[in-house]
């Protein structure tokens, strides 16, 4: 009875201990002749049981049995099994900490890696300090290709321009609506924060607000239909007819125009021709009959155009005196621009994958990258896995150079020099570069096609021209509009402002630009056929690659 109890106690010991010593302990128990001694052994076994299970975890596991078959004879070699091994507690803790650290690091690495694989991440580009062209309040060159439209065409000179699409004007913010014919309203990139650009004027001559506000009422009919240009030009003189010009005012306007032309116009020779022409007409008394401000402004514009053939040189008359300090964009205007961009998906009209895994982006402007950066990044990310890319710029009237640089960034594997902006007035040149490569971007070596049309204007032409010069894209469609200069309004006095193209885009490869000529496509097809042609070209090129 006691023996079986003792045996049971031995059986309850940890296997490592039991297998090794249970027989011997039972043997000792069997040697005990007295009951009292047996009871003591039972207590000893009980204590041992507790001790082994609580204090000796290293012996819980069964270890190799003792060399039972081997005779313990002196002189004969003996063989040993490997001793049971239990690492030090400190080593166990170190191992635990190390394993956890490695596990966490691996998880982080995987997560980090997946971000790169799945999402094209645009770094938070410090536009203000970047090498690339950015909206720089101190510079006239960079913000937009087309300067504040509000003063571009006060007169009906541009009636020879393409047919207006006045629908676009209805989307313009109040600040950007002006007294120009609807033609120009439509052509100007509607997605622009006008007063932001206006603030960049290097002269306090860009005071458009009163004119804008008076012009809005006049332009109401103009926004209604294609006949707007005529209506608008007819209504303007009504406002200004009350004010009569005297010879001194005319002289001041002519002198101011000459001074500004001489200083700012992009071509000094042409500027001198225009100045001489203005003086000659004045001496001849050609201006004497013009007592109406609007008529006089149109007259001067015509005189300048006759010798320069530059339709972007414009004399503007405003009946209401303009303040000397250019207006700055109000928070409301910025918010409105943001809202418009958000509603319009930053003018990314269509972003999709066409058959044969060709990415297609129809971009209807180049909006301010500082506001549309995320949208642009998302659009580019969604076509990141495409085998070729088609940029549809057929309805793109231009916009900001920083967006040109941002989108071009995805097409190169290194920062690439796109353009120089030469500012005649400041005699300075600013370079435009793409950003450093975007992590995870796969488009740097994919074929690119750009669709162009006669409506492709300004910054959109720059994008096309840059990629063509760099042999990075195939241009498909029709020759573009031909706007490679940027103008700026210069205030002469309370009523006269002259708009002068003063900044010239200079391509670093061709050393020139597309001003007046437009950008010629590589593959000339009708605008309507451009997309289908580009798709076929892409398909053919991809098949060749395979």
């Amino acid at each position: 009875m006691l023996r079986s109890l003792y045996r049971r106690l031995l059986d309850l010991h940890p296997p490592g201990f039991r297998h090794r010593f249970a027989d011997e302990m039972l043997s000792i128990f069997d040697q005990a002749r007295e009951k009292r001694a047996a009871a003591g052994l039972l207590v000893d076994a009980l204590v041992s049981l507790v001790r082994q299970w609580t204090l000796r975890p290293e012996f819980w596991q069964d270890v190799s049995p003792a060399p039972t078959t081997q005779a313990a004879t002196n002189g004969i070699p003996t063989f040993h099994t490997i001793d049971p091994f239990r690492p030090r507690t400190a080593a166990v803790i170190h191992g635990l900490v190390l394993s956890t650290a490695v596990f966490c690091l691996t998880c982080f690495a995987i997560r980090y890696s997946w971000i790169h694989v799945l999402h094209v991440r645009i770094p938070e580009v410090p536009w203000e300090s970047s090498q690339s062209t950015q909206p720089n309040p101190g510079s006239v060159a960079t913000p937009t290709f087309e300067e504040p439209g509000a003063i571009t065409q006060q007169n009906p000179i541009v009636q020879d321009s393409p047919a207006p699409t006045s629908a676009a004007s209805s989307r313009l913010s109040q600040a950007s609506v002006d007294a120009r014919p609807a033609v120009e309203v439509a052509r100007r990139p509607k997605h622009r924060l006008v007063s932001k650009s206006a603030q960049t004027s290097d002269l306090p001559s860009n005071a458009l607000r009163p004119q804008d506000q008076t012009g809005i009422a006049q332009l109401e009919p103009a926004q209604a239909g294609p006949q707007a240009a005529t209506v608008a030009s007819a209504t303007v003189p009504v406002t200004s007819a009350d004010l009569k010009l005297d010879p001194a005012e005319r002289q001041r306007a002519i002198n101011g125009a000459i001074a500004n032309l001489t200083k700012y116009y992009i071509d000094p020779d042409v500027a001198k021709k225009m100045a001489d022409a203005l003086l000659a007409h004045e001496r001849n008394g050609d201006d004497d009959a013009a007592t109406d401000g609007k008529v006089f402004a149109d007259l001067l514009t015509r005189q300048m155009r006759d010798v320069s053939h530059d339709k972007y040189v414009v004399m503007v008359y405003t009946a209401i005196p303009m303040p000397e300090n250019p207006p700055t964009p109000t928070p409301e205007e910025i918010a409105r621009y943001r809202r418009e961009m958000a509603e319009d998906r930053c003018t990314f009209e269509t972003v999709k994958i066409l058959p044969h895994n060709v990415g297609y982006l129809k971009l209807n402007a180049f909006p301010d990258a500082s506001i549309c950066q995320r949208t642009a990044a998302a659009a580019m990310a969604s076509v990141n896995s495409a085998d070729a890319i088609i940029f549809d710029l057929r309805d793109n009237p231009g916009g900001y150079a920083n967006m040109v640089a941002l989108i071009a960034t995805y097409l190169f594997d290194r920062p690439t020099h796109l353009n120089d902006f030469y500012n005649r007035g400041e005699n300075s040149t600013e370079q435009s570069w793409t950003m450093p490569p975007v992590p995870g971007n796969r488009l740097a070596d994919k074929p690119v096609f750009v669709l162009t049309s006669p409506s492709t204007f300004s910054a959109a032409e720059a994008f096309s021209y840059d990629l063509k010069m760099l042999k990075r894209a195939t241009l498909v469609g029709e020759t573009t509009s031909g706007r490679g200069h940027m103008g700026m309004g210069h205030r002469i006095d309370d009523h006269f402002t002259i708009r002068i193209p003063g900044v010239k885009v200079i391509n670093p490869i061709s050393k020139t630009n597309w001003e007046g000529r437009g950008v010629e496509p590589d593959v000339k097809v009708n605008v309507a056929d451009a997309l289908a042609t580009a798709e076929k070209l892409a398909e053919t090129e991809l098949q060749h690659k395979k």
């Binding site: 201990f17 090794r20 010593f21 027989d23 011997e24 302990m25 039972l26 043997s27 000792i28 128990f29 069997d30 040697q31 003591g40 052994l41 207590v43 000893d44 076994a45 204590v47 041992s48 049981l49 001790r51 082994q52 000796r56 012996f59 003792a66 060399p67 039972t68 078959t69 081997q70 005779a71 313990a72 003996t78 040993h80 001793d83 049971p84």
Partner: protein, 117 residues
């Protein structure tokens, strides 16, 4: 063996007695118990649980080597154990240490006597 013998000192009474009992000859567990009882004149009795617990640790520390069973023994379940050279070194070191303790103790006890007088 990288551990110095002094690292194991002082020994517990059970370890000391087991090492001492194995110093003269190889013994099995029961014989060790009896030898310990003899050495201590019956004052220190070692139970099998304590004995084998200590033997287990001593084998791990390589103080003691397990020899296995001997044919022809009265009880075939018995295994014999032998002191290793390390075990002998540890026993010698412990003996020296105890000798120092005894010598120091005797010295102190001797110097204390006159004061009482």
């Amino acid at each position: 063996m990288k551990d110095s013998v002094t690292d194991f000192l002082p020994l517990s009474p059970a370890t000391l007695h087991i090492l001492l009992s194995l110093a003269a000859e190889d013994l099995h567990g029961y014989a060790i118990m009896q030898e310990v009882a003899r050495q201590s004149e019956g004052k220190y009795k070692l139970g099998p649980g304590t004995l084998y617990d200590n033997l287990q640790k001593m084998i791990q520390h390589k103080f003691v080597q397990e020899l296995g069973r001997r044919p022809g023994d009265d009880d075939p379940r018995r295994r014999y154990y032998r002191l290793t050279s390390l075990g002998r070194g540890v026993l010698a070191a412990e003996t020296d240490r105890l000798g120092e303790v005894v010598r120091e103790a005797r010295l102190r006890l001797q110097t204390a006597k006159p004061r009482r007088a």
